[in-house]
Amino acid sequence: MKRQNAWLLPLATGVVLIAAWFGLKRLFRIESYVLPSPAEILAAAWHERATLLTSAFVTGRGALLGFLAAVGVGFALSMVMAFSIRLKQSLYPFILILQMTPVIILAPIFVLWLGQGLPSIVMITFMICFFPVVANTTMGFISVDRNLQELFVMCNATRTQEIRHLRVPGAMPYFLTGMKIAGTLAPIGAITGDFLAGGAQNGVGGIGFMTITYFSQLKIPALFATGLVACLMGFLFVGGVNYLHWRLLHRWHDSMVRKE
């Protein structure tokens, strides 16, 4: 497998998909106010570039902070739950409840307590992103090799040591997967935050704000352009996580090591 294929193939598929997109649009005579063509979307993105850039910055900040909070708090929570099965049994159901309560119900409370804008947006992003981190990390923690666990018992390791030196590194592949999911959710979370708790300062809101705006203006190509921005932002996160995956695992984990 040559290195260049990593770029060539998705590109080729992309071309095929975009061709299909054009084709479908033609074939079914889909109007641009329903599904604009890629060209129209790019044109709209270019036309609105100033606005989109500013709003990408606004939303990106919320997404990044929410993502970091979700990864940090999610990891910490899983770690706390790894300390004792009792803690886990006590906490997990409530983590589930937090995850499963539609954010629209909680959003007004966040806004009331944290005020409209960044803090609430970060909180909403956090709410949307944190569970995949918790679920995966927890599964990683309990999937630890029993033989290695016995080694740590043999070493009289404290629970903290066991978690730090055995469970944390062992759970990395799971944790990173959770982080990747959180990465794709972070921009969506921040955009939802824009909807639910954001606003426009000086005429520029986040991507979510622009999404409602374009939507209510029937600027459908621009609407899709916000989707494009969301995707680009998401790719940054996923790219970051992939880099971390490579950094942390390439020396030892089966998902990376190429055995000759």
């Binding site: 009331l112 409209q116 708790a197 606003g199 705006t213 029937l218």
Partner: protein, 316 residues
């Protein structure tokens, strides 16, 4: 209540301004124009108030914001205030900045809809739970199926039989631009005619009547001027706050407010900017109670007090 510690006196230039917050129900738009007019023209300042207009968004519950003290004033429909009151939220309407609600029902001429009766059996994209829907159904003996609104118009454009809730001041502009041949049914003609009001929490009205009064006077002045005077400055401010606000669109909105007499109502029938009548509030309470939306009985006195409003300017 305790005596007002805030020094208030309308027009008392030397005294420090009293800070108040107005929570709106949406992003800045011409439907809020009078408030911005009063703001940018300095009417609030002249009245001794330092007003901050805080924009709402789709999940803002302005009633909550006012009731919990995070804002002094908020705006909304009179039926929402009545409903909130029946849920124990102590609110007090001060004045109506729109005598007629801009909500309407938008349809394609091709759909053959002429009257409310023609909506029978159709899908209506609207905010679920809106009181007007049930009342309309009862009034005209029809039944509609409600689709939650997505705040968009794509589905409307794509389907000639699509019917959706709209603001007279908003959607028609865009769908006409796309070449749709549309018609509207104005809600205030459906037998249920709420006001758009500004309100405060009851305790604030009791403790700071001067503030409420000062705010009311400046607001009425702002609205009167916005709807029939020079609104350029207010519109510039609105446009600076909300990128959606293009000049053409704002002109359309204002024009719609004028055409449908949304702000002024029908002067011949005694309507005037700001005015709320007990009679209409009573009617609304009766209608809401009739469809079971009120948790407990509400009286007009609980929810509005016309006394804060100076005598309305004489109709021209």
């Amino acid at each position: 209540g305790k005596p007002a510690e805030v020094p208030i006196a309308a027009g008392a230039g030397a005294k420090p301004l009293v800070k108040v917050v107005l929570q709106t129900d949406w992003f800045a738009q011409p439907e809020h124009g009078g408030f911005y007019q009063a703001l940018v023209k300095g009417y609030y300042r002249d009245a001794g108030l330092d007003v901050e207009i805080r924009q709402g968004n789709p999940t803002t519950i302005p009633a909550q914001v006012v009731a919990t003290g995070r804002a002094e004033f908020a705006i909304g429909r009179s039926d929402d205030v009545i409903i909130a009151a029946s849920r124990g939220v102590p609110l007090m309407m001060i004045g109506a900045f729109m005598q007629r609600d801009p909500q309407a029902i938008l349809f394609h001429q091709e759909s053959g809809i002429k009257t409310f009766k023609d909506l029978d059996g159709r899908n209506l994209m609207a905010v679920p739970g809106s009181a007007f829907i049930t009342i309309m159904e009862n009034t005209f003996h029809i039944k509609v199926a409600v689709t939650p609104t997505d705040f968009g118009m794509s589905r409307f454009l794509a389907d000639k039989n699509f019917v959706q809730q709209c603001f007279l001041t908003n959607e028609p502009y865009y769908v006409r631009k796309e070449g749709a041949n549309i018609g509207v049914l104005v809600l205030s003609d459906s037998g249920f005619s709420p006001y758009r009001v500004w309100y405060t929490r009851r305790s604030f009205a009791q403790e700071h009547p001067e503030v409420v009064r000062a705010f009311a006077a400046a607001t009425v002045r702002g609205w009167s001027e916005y709807i029939s005077g020079d609104r350029t400055e207010a519109n510039t401010r609105i446009a600076s706050l909300n990128p959606k606000m293009e000049p053409g669109f704002m002109d359309f909105s204002v024009h719609a407010m004028q055409e449908y007499h949304l702000v002024t109502g029908d002067p011949a029938a005694g309507d005037a900017v700001g005015r709320i009548t007990r009679e209409r509030i009573d009617t609304q309470i009766r209608q809401l109670s009739g469809i079971g939306l009120l948790d407990r009985p509400v009286t007009a006195d609980e929810v509005f007090d016309a006394s804060f409003l100076a005598a309305p300017p004489a109709p021209r």
